[in-house]
Symmetry: C2
Subunit: 285 residues, 2 copies
């Protein structure tokens, strides 16, 4: 697997990196801090031009993610005809397991410094609104995050975002969880994502971890600005509102937001894949 | 020399690439069109964090560029204490000569399509305000561009810029041209750059081509927002005005502008270095 170093770091994230590095000093997991970010060479074509919007997975067809094999586009971004954005992203996690994956989705949320390990330049802070779940004995990994909301602050591209991530049972998005075992799904992190500055659901996010020959792979899909309750206000509303919140208000708002989300997803999960097995071995017991 | 593929393409430049590709079809030099952009691996540290502003070359010390060897920082960007920006950039051109370099600086300006070869995603158009110089017999290469103004439209980072580049004799910037021969300088492209939308000199740009063991190398310096005639209005004015024109109006305007300029310079000149010898052989006779 050819690793290509990331060649663009918005200036504000370069500054955030230094803040985060100072903040993590002394934490027992500080030795997992690693600002070396990379992308798989095979993903580069997907970040050089948009995919055809006709190839986007329709939200209503979400269960196609449970079919064997791969979709026509596993890495891509585009603006949809209604101005919303679609993103598909696949990241292999060789040497990792569903146990590790499910553990990470609650463990990281206990301290902002843990969250910064995941994307040292762009992650700023995380706060779980149900902190009691993170320490309550006897819960499964999923019970520690499904149904909770995480408030996260992070840079997505050059834009500092204040997000609320409400983790759901995948069935709430229409996923046929009875098919998970046969489909090799060993972990999930599905959510409605909203901007804390705006009273809207900004996006629906699906992460599914699937068993592979040498570990797991995460397949992600984002539908941004597609929320039905906003569609009645006119198809351009969601992305326009999102664009305003992002401070972008430009042409191709949907494409821009999708592009930055694809890059963000690829970078943060490729990075996580390098240390997840080790940090779980040390702290996941 | 390790070539690292560029991993970030602002969405608007992805669209511009398609426009440019269509436009160049049929031109006799269309076979030099190549959208493969890269950076030298050794430059990556310079694009991951700013340099110390104490290490910036003071404009008044410009003749230090004629000393043998290299400065402490040959690749870097920073915001200066007065809010202006400084950029240093070095690009090797193995297999190239001063003749090729000087030729390029007027030859590209004859048609926008030639200009797009240089940076296929980001260059849009060029217009030389003294077009008669481009065809007048008997002129040296320098006489075809020094003293002229080029109006260029290009993306610098995500921002579409309308620039006026007024090429100068290097002596007008205080460079001791009597030292050029001893210093191995075989080409130059020095200019005051202004925004066509604002009545200000935005930047001073120095490109010096120096002979090396295997060709030439270009050493560039940019002082952005440093123009003395604006300094009297208060040190923050130049960059604030520039920031407004860029549509950025954010914290760290100087740093952002410098960062994008460093990346832009590295990408366009590294790319030019791959085809300059060949295109000169075919069209420079």
């Amino acid at each position: 697997m050819d690793r290509i170093p990331v060649t663009y770091f918005p200036v504000a994230t370069q500054q955030q990196l230094r803040v985060n590095h100072e903040r993590i000093a002394g934490k027992p997991y500080a030795h997992y801090w690693d600002p070396t970010l990379w992308l798989r060479a095979e993903v580069l074509p997907a970040i050089e031009q948009p995919m055809e919007s006709e190839q986007a997975l329709r939200f209503d067809d979400i269960n196609a993610l449970l079919d064997s094999g791969y979709q026509a586009v596993e890495n891509g971004y585009c603006e949809m005809p209604d101005g919303s954005a679609y993103v598909a992203s696949l990241v292999p996690f060789p040497g990792c397991t569903g146990e590790m994956y499910r553990w990470w989705f609650w463990w990281h949320a206990k301290e902002s410094e843990r969250y910064t390990l995941w994307y040292p330049h762009n992650h700023i802070g995380v706060r779980c609104l149900s902190p009691e779940r993170l320490v309550q004995p006897g819960l499964s990994h999923e019970e520690r995050y499904v149904g909770t909301t995480h408030h996260v602050d992070e840079y997505i591209g050059p834009d500092r975002m204040k997000l609320a991530i409400h983790f759901l049972d995948p069935a709430e998005l229409g996923l046929d969880t009875a098919r998970f075992e046969a489909a090799g799904i060993v972990g999930h992190a599905c959510a409605r994502v909203s901007l804390r500055s705006e009273p809207i659901d900004a996006a629906t996010m699906v992460h599914l971890a699937r068993r592979t020959a040498d570990g797991i792979e995460q397949r992600s899909r984002y539908w941004i600005g597609h929320a039905p309750k906003l569609r009645v206000l006119g198809a351009r509303i969601p992305v326009d509102a999102l664009g305003t919140a992002l401070g972008i208000k430009r042409r191709m708002a949907g494409a821009r937001v999708g592009y930055e989300q694809l890059l963000h997803d690829q970078i943060e999960f490729s990075h996580l894949s390098t240390f997840l097995a080790d940090i779980h071995r040390e702290f996941g017991g």
